[in-house]
Amino acid sequence: MNIGIIVFPGSNCDRDCVHVLSEVMGQSAHLIWHQGTSVKGMDAIILPGGFSYGDYLRTGAIARFSPIMDAVVEFAGRGGMVLGICNGFQILLEAGLLPGAMLRNRHLSFICEDIYVRVENADTPFTNQCEPGQILRLPIAHADGNYYTNPVTLSALQANAQIVFRYCDREGHVTSQANPNGSLDNIAGIRNATGNILGLMPHPERGAEKVLHNEDGGLLFRSILSALERNQIHQPV
């Protein structure tokens, strides 16, 4: 499969995604510079983590207007799979491809640590290799991961099973102590209504390799590949 990874000025997790997809999983990973205007030939798109535009004004606020985003929005509109990791999730929110917004972490610190998330919906193209309720250990590294949306949208997310990952403790209990950043309803990752776009704050690309003693994140990538293979979704050239 051809996976396109968008690189904005300030993105810094793009090469980790390339490494996982190509070295660990044997796929064709392509770095796409933000000034590009096409994602032709890509089967899925990743918006990686980092500090696009230095997080100036708001995280992801400027990157969402990068030239490549027209192509990404159009690709997503055709049902193409888009994964936003950390800053990528923030960009998807600013672009309106996912509902809601990110606030500064409740305790104001940049948090860099391993946390646990529970898979709330294993019936998505991003989690089909997971069990419902499976606990994944993933690293987070962010200062603005405090997910917020209004009560109406939150109810809709809950009703439509759009909350895909929630922060939990080691045993899978979703508690406020297990919530690293104050995010509403312990939300760590959500999908859009049609299910082809996922954003999550944790970094699956940093936990996808045996040598790192963490392969939980690899399940997301393997799910994407499985979904592409099963549906034979190769985007029309």
């Binding site: 004004l57 606020a61 207007f65 917004a101 606030l103 972490n105 104001l108 917020y148 949306t149 104050g182």
Partner: protein, 81 residues
């Protein structure tokens, strides 16, 4: 003309920075501070002469980029030079 733009978190949205600032002020003895909300201030120089046109432009800029209207409110003042 110059425009001054103020972007603040909507009421009801937790502002941990504002709260941290309030706590610091209390520690310094400014006990009458009941609440602090932190926001952003931007100054723009606009090459415009028509106030109404400038207002529309600024509103568009705020809606599109300068404020995230999911979580932020904005207001602005125009100063004619």
């Amino acid at each position: 003309m110059k425009a001054k733009i103020f972007v603040t978190l909507k009421n009801g949205i937790l502002d941990p920075q504002g709260r941290a600032i309030q706590q610091s002020l209390h520690t310094l003895g400014f006990s009458t501070v009941e609440d602090v909300r932190m926001g952003k201030f931007m100054e723009l120089d606009l090459n415009e002469t028509d106030t109404t046109s400038a207002e529309n432009t600024i509103k568009s800029m705020c809606e599109k980029l300068l404020a995230n209207t999911v979580i932020e409110d904005y207001r602005f003042e125009i100063l004619e030079i």
